[in-house]
Symmetry: C3
Subunit: 468 residues, 3 copies
């Protein structure tokens, strides 16, 4: 018995499905390149068992707890830690039952597909989760988690991950990455340079973070030139732990290319905490261009993830802290926003800038036209709320005709939900094969071309774009 349909997402018409199935058979077992995501390097460093089913599937997964919460379930009841350390549900089995009893809420969502995939393929479950079988499934997963075959490194190997990137703060000491390297384990876990804490004047503790950065690298990072040197130094350090990319999560896609003295003055104001909102935004925008210039020297790929209104609920931020499902996409402009960076370095074919969006109306209107002409630009895969079958299909339908396939970079899972990684890559491979099948069946692509494109989308483009 199976939870999942083996032909899922490959098309609903028999003819198309046969074509898609053939393509999918050629890519389903390719290794996973996970060039951007949020797994915890500590898992691979310590290789400790995951504690229990609730802490594996419910409590840390914002896709899961936000849906349960949307129907009135308090986050406390799902074991989400309170900022003040106040009481929350501490019994994982009770959390699990609550989750199982509300599993119908996930009908039609990608979470449902990822969860079912993990239940079936990772844990061998053969029945759909429900209130009735909640305890039995809990016990089965819990039992397996206690065995060596379900420790992080074993799963990493079983998942056929060729390379995975974590995302670490510029002022992180990368001790878990060091521990992985020192362990002699052969799994390729690299870091990515995420400098928001030392680039965003509005980030909590910005000045302290900059001071710490200076300390770490032995530069006076409180001067503009020292600050830039500190970034260069730190990027090199990250590179020594395998980093091939930097990553920037700003509220907008704004870039600036300010004269150095203007940038330096903004930096001083940022350190003193006297930037206006607009100045803070300008400084962040200017730093993207500085990062792009550094990339020209050190080869790191620049990723821009703009457009999330973080922590929309003030109440929830106060009570539970950041990343609690209350990040909401906003309308995002790229055409005007990216011009300063593109005027500065946009024609350098040795630079790779990967653009993401939470605003799908920009796919056909802005992103594909930009990536379809600027040599440095590539389009990241559908992100976050759009990392879904319908979202992926819309991306291909709206971006391909203007940007083609080769200005895209394959798939990113972008997740901290470890067991969902194979599921997410599998969804992307299936949807892409179904899309290619449609092109073939409608005379827009020759059958002999498609297998190569399918491999590029599943594996080659990510490896190449991220230089992994």
């Amino acid at each position: 018995m199976a939870i999942l349909d083996d032909d899922r997402l490959l098309g609903t018409d028999a003819g198309l499905r046969a074509i898609a199935r053939d393509l999918y058979d050629g890519v389903r077992d390719l290794p996973i390149i996970s060039p951007h995501g949020h797994t915890d390097p500590r898992w691979f460093a310590e290789n400790a068992a995951f504690p229990d089913p609730a802490q594996l599937f419910v409590t840390p997964d914002h896709y899961v707890f936000r849906m349960l919460h949307s129907q009135g379930i308090p986050l406390e009841d799902l074991g989400v830690p309170r900022a003040d350390g106040g009481p929350i549900e501490g019994d994982p089995r009770r959390i699990w039952r609550l989750f199982a009893g509300n599993y119908h809420l996930f009908r039609g969502t990608p979470s449902r597909m990822w969860l079912d995939h993990a239940f079936q393929d990772v844990f061998g479950i053969t029945e759909r989760l429900s209130a009735d079988n909640a305890d039995a499934i809990y016990d089965r997963i819990d039992g397996q988690l206690k065995t060596d075959a379900f420790r992080p490194r074993a799963l990493f190997e079983r998942f056929n991950i060729e390379a995975i990137s974590t995302t670490d703060s510029a002022i992180d000491d990368l001790k878990w990455h060091r521990m992985i390297r020192d362990s002699g384990w052969q799994g390729k876990v690299v870091t990515a340079y995420r400098p928001d804490a030392v680039v965003d004047p509005e980030f909590a503790g910005f000045a302290e973070n900059v001071a710490k950065l200076g300390e770490i690298v032995g530069e006076d990072a409180t001067t503009w030139t020292g600050y830039l040197a500190a970034h260069r130094n730190r990027r090199d350090y990250f590179k020594s732990f395998g980093a091939t990319s930097s990553d920037h999560g700003h509220a907008t896609a704004r870039t600036e290319d300010l004269p150095q003295d203007v940038a330096a003055r903004l930096f001083d104001k940022a350190l003193q905490g006297t930037c206006t909102e607009d100045e803070a935004d300008a400084f962040r925008g200017h730093m993207l261009t500085e990062m792009a210039r550094m990339s020209l020297d050190d080869g790191l790929v620049l990723q821009i993830h703009p457009g999330s209104f973080r922590n929309h609920s003030g109440t929830t931020l106060d009570r539970f802290g950041r990343d609690k499902g209350y990040d909401i996409p906003t309308r995002t402009d790229y055409v005007h926003a990216l011009k300063p960076l593109l005027d500065a370095v946009g024609h350098r074919a040795d630079l790779t800038v990967i653009l993401f969006t939470l605003d799908e109306s920009t796919y056909a209107r802005e992103l594909a036209p930009l990536a379809g002409v600027y040599p440095c630009l590539r389009l990241g895969p559908p992100w976050w709320f759009h990392d879904s079958p319908e979202g992926m299909l819309r991306f291909r339908q709206m971006a391909t005709e203007t940007a083609g396939f080769y200005n895209t970079v394959g798939f990113n899972d972008d997740t901290r939900a470890f067991c969902s990684i194979p599921a997410r890559h599998d969804v992307a491979r299936r949807v892409d094969c179904a899309f290619l099948a449609t092109l073939i069946a409608s005379g827009r692509l020759d059958a002999d071309e498609a297998p190569g494109v399918a491999r590029d989308l599943a594996y080659g483009l990510a490896k190449q774009a991220y230089r992994l």
Copy 2:
């Protein structure tokens, strides 16, 4: 012979259609819950015969006359009354012939499907309307309208309407609702609280309307506290006529949660007619939050219908008045706009706020992410121009993956075209079943889950969300 294909909208692939057909067979005959619309309570109070085919199908239906007008037909020729009482076409048969002779303009539109449905199912017509059969069809409909079986209450029962809500101004005396109640007729016709006339400082006669509200409820509504008390009082009165919801049609989705003294000062300026545009917008926005607070006490569901640029043509407004097909959707922001209200009451699971939109780009970007986390939020069905097969499909495709099914509220017909009600609900049921069939056939939903979802979408969710 039939005008309509019995399998319409159930999918074009035979396999999918078979699945969809099964699901549809399970919901096609469910009673109609019509929780939001604009039928005239007078129809059910007086139960008088509808006058003639033109006044039933053409003159009052803005979908119909706007399309005819767009091709150069003067509104006068369609019998639309002029504001100055000037001459218009008064012969319903001539209006009908004009309509019939231009029936090709409706090809591919939902109006065509609603009209055909009503012609066939309500009036037993078996031929597509055209210039050739215009008179014959006119006579057939006209003849039936004169019989008791085609009076409003008889049609209400024949349409299998379990409950319908009209929408009435806060200063309406609800005399027709009283007459319905007093008549002993068992049809469930409830009202909804629509306070735009006493909440929007830019509404014609705002101060007089507020004074009238105070008079009706016996409060001095010209003071801020008296004004709020008057609303509470009036909402209770509406509840006594079955109201379970309030409804708010603002130009934007802006909300505010102002300090009471600031709100009171704005209210004074509003009464004096000295609000700036922005102050008027702020006042409306603040009143949404006040209404939400009242809902916490009295249980009314809060509906927000933003984003229509009303009466876009000044010429037409002057010549024919409001609601003449010249309301045009505009780009609408929800993420920033709703934050004040959500910060105030967004986490109350005992509150229901139903969001509508005329800007489909917000489905996946803003509305589904918001409704997928805030306990109070639910998404209304595709509205107005988007109440159509393609519009419904886009809604499901763009909202479901993030909001699921259970943060939506089933269907609203939102119409004043009485005979289109069964047709509109039928279209929604068919499109939803076809969507569910696609999920099943692509392995995204189990076959045993779908019938329950189909029933929830067709009936259960509307009943539950609107507390009907």
Copy 3:
């Protein structure tokens, strides 16, 4: 052997494809009406042979060279002329090889389909272009180009073009059009009035252009009344060369209807070069309304093509000049922008204003609702980046339900790539037939109605809307 699938784009489901095929068979051989485009009238005037395959297919086609450039190929290597006359690749065969070796970049793009169509149908090529056959195909095309059967007039006739419109500057002397007329050749090549150079205060040399306009028509065009008279005069001159339309390519869709004295003062500032950005925009906007008023007198159809951020890359503008693939769409508002013009003349059924967009989010939200009510408005076909199978399908899916078919105007190829004209019209005909087939198969259109609609979309509507 064939490069193209004869059933391409007609649907992937066998049942749908059969319906679409029937419809397509009824329209595939209809003459081409090309009411808006950028072919060079000189071709038809001189009837000289096209020089070589690279200059026919690569160097002048911004769709083609922007994609190659996006992957790092310098424009110089593609033979794109430098503004400073500096060295570029001059060997067409080398340019062709570069193109052929990168032909995989076009997978999934409309360019690929247009190119394949031209290769097969115009030049009889039977193999997909690749690095391996680049020289053979080059030779074959090059050889044919040297023959009379491949001169512009012969191709025009072979393409079955009933009428084509070029687009010419208001200060163009139309000498090529005169030469065509004087030649006695029967091909119908008309002009269109494009006054951007004398309407846009920010256009390079605006004041000189206006002076030149005055000179040409013998009016003092430096006074407001003389300027308007000069336009009227010049429009008449264009009409004498067959013009049936004017065309306006502004950055936004803004219109204004200023008092004449205010407009006159703005015009003075424009001539003196002292307009602010906003004043320049207002002047352009006002001129759209003036042009619409002139249309009421002379019957020219008014086309508005807004929303392109022209020459986004300053570097490329400096190095290569305008129109080098760096025009990027931007978000565009129509609802507020068009109101002044619509208030002035929007109800005149004897006026035709055709709206285009690069912002697909406006199809269902703004454009279809506007065109579905204002008598003067019609919707142009999917434009530029959206002139593609997916783009056309989205247009029909998003515009039809509110605007119907009869508020649209058939297809425009809008191209300067001559050999792509039959391919582009063919794509539009196929996609429209597939869309109609879906409507039939889903019970939304009767089978007997569809052939007429298909002919209207392929031929009749363009002829009628453009009065050709």
